[in-house]
Symmetry: C2
Subunit: 142 residues, 2 copies
């Protein structure tokens, strides 16, 4: 945890960002959350410690973090943005019924090659396999 915060400070400095208490708090909440929180979720948790952090700050900060690679914005379907602090390469399964997004790991997927023609035409910075369907909990509901 201490080490994480050291790394966080380094990354901020590297990108010319100031290390503020708000950013620290948001980052801590991110690495402590096992799911994929939205800005509102982070905001609610932080308010317990810093009662007057605004939602706007949380939103801006999360987007800033995504720009410097500290988190990723998950591909959703027009719902609120969800942020993913898991930086290990991984893939997503999304439940169409409850909306939950579940991380999974798969080496075959990780090692997928980007087609040559796309590599030449675009700059590719991210690659992920998305599966969708019904999760185990929802499957057993009816």
């Amino acid at each position: 945890m201490e080490k994480d915060l050291k790394i966080f400070e380094e990354i901020c400095h590297k990108h010319g960002l100031k290390v503020t208490p708000q950013r620290m708090a948001i980052y801590k909440e991110l690495i402590n959350s096992k799911e994929h929180p939205s800005a509102v979720m982070i905001h609610e948790r932080i308010r317990k410690y810093y009662p007057n952090v605004s939602l706007d700050t949380v939103n801006r900060t999360l987007i800033t973090f995504s720009e410097i690679g500290l988190v990723q914005i998950i591909e959703g379907r027009g719902d609120p943005k969800r942020f993913d602090p898991n930086l290990r390469p991984h893939h997503h399964f999304r439940c169409l019924r409850c909306g939950e997004i579940i991380d999974f790991y798969n080496e075959e997927y990780d090692s997928l090659e980007v087609p040559e023609d796309l590599k030449e035409k675009f700059i590719i910075t991210g690659k992920r396999v998305n599966l969708e369907g019904i999760c185990d909990k929802c499957k057993n509901l009816n």
Copy 2:
């Protein structure tokens, strides 16, 4: 085109949906659009022919269409929902700068196997590879 509309009517009947002029118009706009329109885009185009179709109807209709498999909702990032009338198996590249979503085809990606453990635990209904980065237009801008 005539044929498409016949098929459309059949699918509606099969799912117990009424064939209304609004639905017809929305479907026609969908199959005529090469990009991935949002509800607002469809609404604007339709208003030229049916000036008093409400946006709510367009939204509901598009979601209904996605439920019966006529279109797919694209995984986005909290922006407006985008609909994909392309039913051939394909994958997406998303430009992080301009937000455009570009279809591409790749047989290796199509034939990816779903890992056994996931297959057992969940019901998998969809599979897609998402790439992201900077598109050719944005790359040449600065």
